[in-house]
Symmetry: C2
Subunit: 393 residues, 2 copies
Amino acid sequence: MTKNKLKLGIFGFGCVGTGLYKVLEEAGSVEANIKKICIKHADKPRPIDKKYFTTDKDELLKDPEINVIVELIDDADAAFEIVSEAMKNGKSVVSANKKMIAERLPELLDLEKKYQVSFLYEASVCASIPIIRNLEEYYDNDLLTSVSGIFNGSTNFILTKMIDENISYPIVLKEAQEKGFAETDPTLDVEGIDPKYKLCIILFHAFGLITRPEDIFNFGISRINDFDLRFAQQRNFAIKLIAKCNKNGNEITGFCAPTFIEKEDPLAHVKYEYNGVVLESAFSENQLMIGKGAGDKPTGSAVLSDISALTYDYKYENKKYSHVDKNLKLVNHGEYKVYVRYSDEFPAFDDFISIEEKYISPNGNYFIGRISLDKLANSSWIKNKDINVIFSC
Amino acid sequence: MTKNKLKLGIFGFGCVGTGLYKVLEEAGSVEANIKKICIKHADKPRPIDKKYFTTDKDELLKDPEINVIVELIDDADAAFEIVSEAMKNGKSVVSANKKMIAERLPELLDLEKKYQVSFLYEASVCASIPIIRNLEEYYDNDLLTSVSGIFNGSTNFILTKMIDENISYPIVLKEAQEKGFAETDPTLDVEGIDPKYKLCIILFHAFGLITRPEDIFNFGISRINDFDLRFAQQRNFAIKLIAKCNKNGNEITGFCAPTFIEKEDPLAHVKYEYNGVVLESAFSENQLMIGKGAGDKPTGSAVLSDISALTYDYKYENKKYSHVDKNLKLVNHGEYKVYVRYSDEFPAFDDFISIEEKYISPNGNYFIGRISLDKLANSSWIKNKDINVIFSC
C-alpha cells in the first residue's frame, strides 16, 4: 500500500492549530508537512516561524502543491467558503467545524463527490473520541438502534461543578469562562445548540439521515437553579446535557436536553470536560466511549488522525446514506418523561399525557409528567425563563 | 461500492453461534447466509433446523460455495487446523480464538498472505469493544504510547463481587462457575493467561510487535485473600486484573497482573462482566472504551461486524507491522511498584530496588517496594502460594 505525501494548508492557528503543528513535528510516521497557514491578524505574535503565515487565502487555495486544506476557524460561513473553494480546486479537506457541517452537509457531500476529493471531520464531534470513524467502519450495518451521550465539554464542566461542588450556575459559568472552557458568548454551548450540531452529524453516519438542526429539539442548562440541584441530590441523580437519537423502524427521534442520570449509569462518571458516547445496537448491548471532548490536544489528535487517514486515501463511504430507506424520517411524536419546575401557576397541564408526581412549596414547585416531544417543542410555556425542564432517563 | 454475498460455514454452535444465527436472520443489511454448521455432537438437541448441521468438517471446508469460515470452537489446536485448511482453500476466516491467534500469529499471517484471503478476529479481544479495528484504522500512526485495561470479564466479575460485596475468592468463584461466567477449569482466566493472549494480539495491532505469550509476565487473582481485600478497602482502592503494554522508543513492556486502582480512575467503574480498554497517545490523552467483554450477544456482535466487513472485502492492513522498526523489542527491565503480602519470613528483600512501606502483624505482613519486572518474573518466591503480589498503579 503506497502512502501519499501531504502538503497542508491550514486555516486558523489557535490552540488546535498550534498543537497540530507540534505533533506533526513529532509524528514521524505521518508524512504531512505544513506549507502555509492562513490567519486573520498578521501582527499577532506566533510561536513558530513567520514564513508559514499569510493573510491571503489564495496563497493556500490556489497553490497546486498543497493537496490538503485543514480548516480550523470558528465562523461557519467563512469556513464553508474556504472548504468549498478548496474542494473545487481538487484539494481534500479536514475540518472541525460542526456548525458548518450540520447546516450544509448536502452541499458538502455534493462537492466532495463532484470534485472527487475526501472530506473528513472526526474532530467536529466529541474531539478525541473516534465516533464518526467507528460509525462508518464498525457499526456499518443496520443493527444500531441508538447513539447518545455527553457531546459538549464546556457544559459538562459546568454541570459537574454544580452537582459535585454545589456551586450555582452563574458562578460556575464565570469560572469556566475565565479558564477558557466556555466562550464569552456561551449560548451555543449552554443552550444545547453545539451538541445538537454534533447530533446531526451523528445521525448521518449512524443512520444515513440528513436533518436540519432546526428540526431537532434542544433545551439548555442555563435555567438550572438551586432548587433543581437539590432535587437531583435528593434522588441521587447527576444532571448531564444529553444528546440522543433513536431509530425505530423508519422513524428517527432526536433531542438535546438536560437529563437526570442515575449515579450507577456509566455516563454519571463522565465528568468535567470529558465527553462520553453510548452506542446501543440490537446485539452488542451498550458500548461506551470516553475521552476529552475539547481542548487543543484532544481536538488536534482527531485532526491528525484524519490527516493520517488521507495519506492512505481514506474517504467516508457513507454506506448507510447510500443504502438508506427513502422512507426514513425524523419524527417528534415520541413520548418523554420530564421534570418541570415552575414558580407560579403552571399554565398547561393539558399538554401532558399523564402527571406522575406533583410538588408544591414556598420554595418552588415541580411536577413530573409524560409529554410528546412535539408538544413540548411547540409549547409557549417552554419559552418562559422561570420554567425549567429536565428529562428523565 | 459492490457488496459481496457471503455463504458462511460455522464451526461450533454454542451460545455465540446461536446468537449469531439469530442476528443474521434479523440483520437485513448484512448479506450473509449460513450454509452449514459443523458440530462435535450430532445428537445434542439444537434450536434450529437439523439440515444445517454436520459433523464432517470437509462438508464446510471443501464446499466451493462457502466463502467464509466462522471458527467458534474452544480447542486452539483444532481451531488452527480448521482455520489454516480454510485459508488454503481460498476462504476468508472470522475467528474468536485468542489462544490460537496469540500463539500462532506468524503462521496465520503467512497463510493469509499466501492464499490472499482475509482473516479477521475482532471478537477475540474484549468481545464487543471494537479495539482491533480502532487500533488498525484510527490509531494507525506512531503516536500511541500505551494500551491497557480489563480484558477478562470472568475475573472482573469475581473481583467486583469480592471488593463491592466483600465476599471471599473461593465463594465468588463458585458462584461465577454456577452462573456460567467462569469455566469449570478457571485457570486461563484467574491466572491472567486469557488476558495475556489478548495483550499479545493488541501488541501486534498497536505497535506491530509479534510476541510469544510465554515471554510476557502474568500473575493471577487466585491468591487474593481477605487481608488483601481489607488493605484495598482501607486505602479506597479497587483491585482489577490489568493487562498493559507500553512503548518507549524501541522498547515495549507488557504484563498482566492484579493492580490497585484508585476509585476516581474510570476503570474502577468498569464492573462485573464489563471490559474496559484505555488508549494513551502522545497527543489525544486518555481514551476509554467500555463494553461487555463476554457473553453470546456481545461476542456475536463482534463476529457479525467482521462478517459485515467481509461483505466489503475488508482486511487488516497491519500497517504498523509492515512499517515496524526492526529494533523494536519486548523488554522486561521496567520498574514497578508492587504490594507483597506474605505470612512468615520474606526471603528476598534484596530483589527489590527500594522498600517504601513495611507492615507486620499477627494477621499478616506486607511491604510495598519497587522491583524490575525481570526480577519479579524470575524470582522463586513468586511461586510460593502463600505470597501474593498486587501491582500499584
